[in-house]
Structures are given as C-alpha cells and as structure tokens.
Amino acid sequence: MYNPQLTSDGKLKHLLSIEGLPKKVLQQILDTAESFVSVAERDVKKVPLLRGKTVCNIFFENSTRTRTTFEIAAKRLSADVINLNVNTSSQSKGEAILDTVNNLIAMHADMFVVRHNQSGAAHLIAKHVPDNISVVNAGDGRHSHPTQGLLDVFTIRKYKPDMHNLRVALVGDVLHSRVARSEIHALTTLGVPEIRVIAPKTLLPNEVEKMGVHVFHDMKAGLKDVDVVMMLRLQSERMSGAMLPSTQEFFKTYGLTPEKLALAKPDAIVMHPGPMNRGVEIDSRVADGGQAVILPQVTYGIAIRMAVMAILAGGSV
C-alpha cells in the first residue's frame, strides 16, 4: 500500500503517524536522538543542521508544552522558527485549513509542524504541500502524536534496553488518546511482546484488540508483573457524563496509587505524557516518586524532535 510518509526509496518524507513506519526508520530516529541528548548539556546548545531553514509551527489547537519543545528543538538545530496559533477563532471565520497552509507555503517555509483537533489533518496537509516541504504531525485529533510515541519508546529504551522482553501497560482513556495509538504502534513495531490496555469499556475503541493489545478492565490484574506503566491523560470534558460517572470513581478504579503500582515489577517505571491530573489518573506520591520518569520524558522529547527534524531536513547527522 502507498505510504504517504516515505519516499519511493524508503526514506522519511513526512512524520504523520507511527503506523506504517518500518522498524529501521524508528531505530534511525531513536539513534539520532541519542546523539542529540548531549547537545542540551553543552554550553553552546546549538548545532547548525537546519541553518537557513524555516520551521513553521502551525497550531490549530492550543498547546504550550508540545509547541515549546518543538520550538526549542528547531532553534537548537539553528532553524528560524515561526509560531502560528490558528486557534479556533479564525477557523470559525471560515478559513479553510488548506487556505491557511497555502499562505505559509507562499512564505517559503521548509517544514510544517502541525497540530489540529481533527484526525487526519496532518495527512491532508502532507498530501497538499509541494515536494520540498515536510510535514511533522504534532497531534491530530484522536489519531496520532508520533513524536510523543517516539519519545516514550526512547525513554523506555533508556531504562529498559531489552525491548524484546517487556510487558507494558497503558492505563486510562485509550479511546480519545492519540498518544496511546502512537505508543501502541511504536511498541509493536519495536518488538515489545506484550502490550496491555487497562480501561473501562467506555474508554476503549471498539475492536482495540486488533491493534495487538491485551485488554484488561481490572487494573490490579492488568498491572501484575509489568515493566512499564504508561498513564494517559483524562481530558476534563470526559470526567463526568456518559463515559464516566466521576473523577473520584475513576481514581478509585483506574488511578495509579502506590498500592497498585506495587503489583507491577519492583523496578517498573511510570510514565505520563503530561499534563497530569493529580488525584484523577495518578497519585502525587507516584508522580513524584522514585519510579516516575515523567520529567526525563520531557527532556528526551526535545532530542526526539531534533532528530525527526534533522532527518527530514536532509538526512545525515
């Protein structure tokens, strides 16, 4: 099947989703990121790989953290960065998404980093841009958030290098989570043998097991002997209604407490894509505890985004 993310000779053209990317491309990104981790520790935190290039962050949906890390990553690669918050107000003025994009193409940007609240928006833009522009998906609806998925597996690889011998559990709102979808594809591609999802039925996509995961509704059973616990963010609009009765009940059944974490392997790590809802999906004692690697995730996120942009901008590092 035609893969819009790869060139005909198998090189990365756009980063739209983890699904459909071969293992060697994922490994190339992770290995490249490895070399960028040290850049942040230097006095001069810059490399000249994207000098003279213009990276345009187009955020159709609000974001602070992701946009900031993309901006830092591009600047550390010496690119010029333009931030455009096309929030919902100008969309409601009726400007079509591709009109916005056309304007930026006319300004000769080299790379678009795109976030949009609709699944498939990044694919649409990638199909539309001229050949010399690369598109990086920074989150599209519920579909994909590939750099988050990559930074998560990068973090796991740091702490648990033997990916072929891992049990990973994702806990919480899988249904609405682009992060969960990206993580599942990344872990599957890299050969993690057992991926579990733990959630009530209302927060799981229909036929989710076809993505290659084991479904658990009982958190205690699901956490037993896992190496990695990946918590998902519960959006506030889902906290009470037809999906869930209340945050209290959710915390009681699916919140990660030290007691529940004790069921996992003693050296298990705890991850969260942020921003966290303390007391909803995660107990502060776990979030700030010794097994949490939540802040390193953020640090590695910059290296991953540098790696993706460097590879897209011209290959050799």
């Binding site: 498939g120 579909h143 996509p205 036929e207 076809k210």
Partner: protein
C-alpha cells in the same frame, strides 16, 4: 420519429424477455418487439449488435443539488450524468435548500427538470417540515404536486412519537415512506463504522446497532400502523437479517443498497480518503458479503447509486469535516454488473435491480419494455472497459472512491421518450 433498434440482445426482466430481437419505437412509445408493426418504416436505425437493450435505469436515490446547492452541481449537469449513466427515471431526496416540503417547490423542480428533457424525476417529499422531525408536511398536497413518497433523507426523526404519527398519517393514504434506518443518538457525530479502522484512525464511530435498532423499531411501528416502508441504503449484516426475517413474516417492506456498499469496506478509507466518507459508513467485509447475498436472494429489492455530487472544497478537509457522499449516477450500471459478475448473478436478474424492481418501489410505470410503454431505453456494452476519470464523468461531482479505477460496462445510447438523450463516442 420512428426508431428501430436492430440486432441487440433485449433484456426486459419484468416481461421475462432475454432474446436477440429488434425493437420498434414510434411517437415516444415502444410499438413492437421482434416484429415490426404493420407499415412501420424507421426514420433512424440504431445498430445494437453486441450490445444489450434494456429498460432505462431507475435510480432510487440521486441528489441533483437544486434548489440551493448549485455550486455543488446543477440540474443540467446531473441530468446529463443520468443520461450518460443510462438512468431515465430517478428519485431525488428533499434535502435541498430550501427543503422540498412545499408543493410549489416540488412543482418548480419537476418543471425545471422536464425542460431539460434528460430524465424523469420523481421527488421524494419531506416527511416533516424542514426535515426537523417535528411537524408533518402536507403529504396529500405534495403527492398531487408530484412526490412519489416521503422521507427524512439523512435526518432521522429523533422523537419516536412523531415518527409513529408520521407513519400512521402516511399509512392513511397509502404513501410509501423511504427511511434510511439510523438511530440518531448512537450515530451522533460518527463518521465511520465503529470498528477496527475507526479505532486505529481515531475517527468517531457509528456502531452497526445504530442501524439494526432503528430497523427493529420501524418494523414494529410498521406492523402497528400498516405503513408502507422502504428501507434505504442498508449497510449492515444485522440489517439484512432483520429485513429477511420481516419479509418471511409477511411484513410488506422493501429495501435498497447503494452501489458503494456492495464493493467497499471500512478499509477503503485508507489514509483518511474523504471520498470514502459516505452515509451510512462503509462497514466490515462480512457486512459487504451479507449485502451482496441479500440482493441476490431478494431480501434487498433494488440497488441505487446514492448519487451525491460534492464540490472539491467540501472534500479537501480532514475526514470528519469533509462532506459525505459520492457521485454515482454514471457508476450505477458498471458497479451493478460488477456485483453480478462477482456473485454469478444472471444479467436479467441484475438488471431488474436497477429497473423493474426499483420502479415497483416508486410505484411508477417505468422500468420495462412492454409494448405501449414509454420508450425509455438504455443500450449498453457489458464488456466495454473504461476508466473513471474526472473528464470521463459528466457529473459535476468528481468525488468517488472509484476515481481512476477501471470499470466494466458502458452505456452507449440512452433514449428517453423515444429520443436519444445520450450517445457515447465509444462505439
């Protein structure tokens, strides 16, 4: 004007004719098959050697986009597409702007279409005013104005009391109600089948139960009210099973399916192809199989194009925001033939699904080649291959999941009322 169609294979499912015979037309009517009437001398002879001469096709659902949506398509462009597709009679839903809920609008549409003289149109009136599902329309007046039945198009009635009353009122006068069965709350904001693909792509799903629940409810109301129900565009295996069972129990219902659902599944969405954004959504392989078998065994009476031309701008959007629908008038024949080939269905039985069976549902005197009938005729080459390109399509809508694919079966001549309305350059 007297026309003789020579050397063709005549297939007229209603009259059980499948034979190589000549057909004679005079004054817009069929005047003879096999033998010319006494003293007949043709002004024009059409050589149909190697071609099939069939009744002009009857399409149960084609949106012409007038009034109100002329930027998507016009009566002229879509009636030309109908002629090019061999469609001589078509039924159009009332989801126009304004909605077809007043007799004057229906009369105006019929008049404007009549002036083009390319196909007969049978509008379906709105079942409720503005399709809002609250107040009934003047069904008697609308019928006098030319409505062939009533429907809510893609706006299912939410209030089941209104649904009940609407069916009851229509049943009083014996009008047929065309319902696309969908439970509105379960389908809310959904854009794809609630299954593997929607889950992977992060699209909001519409479960199969949205269809089967509504079918079950409507069947129950139909039994109570004796309303004449036609189920439009069935999409699920469960739906087919419910209708099969109801027919077995003697409930007088009919059903159709769109050409798309006989060939495509949720997987054809690929990477968010908005051409595959359809209503109802494309479903699983087993649904597609059940639909194909349902048409074969007669559970599903007719096949329709579900023609919905959409402008490019409305498709160049993220999948969920893109407008649903596909152009279909010119694909009705090739995709029906493809179904018959795939499922080893004899040609006359396949043609019945887009002629006599559809005409019977609409209650119109059309879809056959009886002597004395209007000479509405489609002459086609069942073996001709052609590519579905934007330029090959007459419809103003170029949006179809079959774009750039090769299909088999090409209309060569279309006659309406004994006049040639379309002639292909392929012969």
């Amino acid at each position: 004007m007297k026309i003789c169609i020579k050397n063709g294979r005549i297939i007229d499912p209603k009259n059980n004719i499948d034979a190589k015979q000549d057909l004679y037309i005079a004054a817009g009517q069929i005047v003879g098959i096999g033998e010319a009437p006494k003293g007949f001398s043709a002004n024009q002879t059409i050589d149909a050697a190697g071609l099939i001469v069939a009744p002009g096709f009857v399409d149960l659902c084609a949106r012409l986009r007038e009034p109100g949506d002329e930027y998507k398509a016009t009566l002229e462009s879509e009636l030309r597409a109908a002629a090019a597709g061999g469609v001589t009679s078509l039924s159009c839903p009332p989801d126009t702007d304004p909605v077809l809920d007043e007799p004057g609008l229906v009369e105006m549409l019929k008049l404007r279409a009549w002036r083009h003289n390319l196909a007969r149109i049978y509008p379906l009136g709105a079942l409720t005013q503005k399709l809002e599902g609250k107040t009934l329309t003047e069904m008697c007046e609308l019928t006098e104005a030319g409505c062939a039945g009533f429907t809510q198009a893609d706006h299912p009635i939410i209030d089941t009391q209104v649904l009940w009353r609407a069916l009851e009122y229509a049943a009083t006068f014996g009008y047929t109600i065309f319902l696309r069965p969908e439970e509105p709350f379960l389908a809310k904001d959904g854009v794809a089948h609630d299954g593997e693909v929607a889950g992977r792509l992060g699209l909001k799903g519409i479960p199969s139960a949205a269809e089967s629940l509504r079918i079950a409810a409507v069947l129950r109301i139909a039994q109570e009210t004796k309303a004449k129900i036609h189920f439009c565009r069935i999409s699920t295996a469960e739906g087919v099973a419910l209708i099969r069972e109801a027919k077995k129990n003697g409930i007088a219902i009919t059903a159709d399916v769109s050409i798309h659902h006989l060939h495509l599944t949720e997987h054809d969405i690929g990477y968010f192809d908005s051409n595959a954004h359809l209503k109802p959504p494309l479903r699983r392989l087993r649904d597609k199989d059940a639909l194909c078998l349902g048409v074969k065994d007669g559970t599903i009476d007719a096949v329709c194009s579900d023609h919905a031309p959409v402008d490019d701008d409305a498709k160049l959007l993220p999948f969920a925001e893109a407008e649903a629908g596909a152009t279909g008038l010119e694909l009705l024949l090739p995709l029906t033939l493809k179904w018959s080939t795939n499922h080893k269905v004899a040609l006359p039985q396949a043609i019945a699904k887009i002629t006599s069976e559809a005409a019977a549902i609409l209650g119109i005197n059309s879809g056959d080649l009886s002597v004395g009938a209007n000479a509405d005729i489609a002459i086609f080459d069942p073996e001709a291959h052609w590519q579905v390109t934007p330029t090959a399509l007459n419809s103003q809508g170029k949006n179809t999941p079959f774009i750039n694919m090769e299909v088999t079966g090409k209309v060569i001549y279309t006659l309406l009322n004994g006049q040639i309305t379309y002639q292909s350059n392929m012969k």
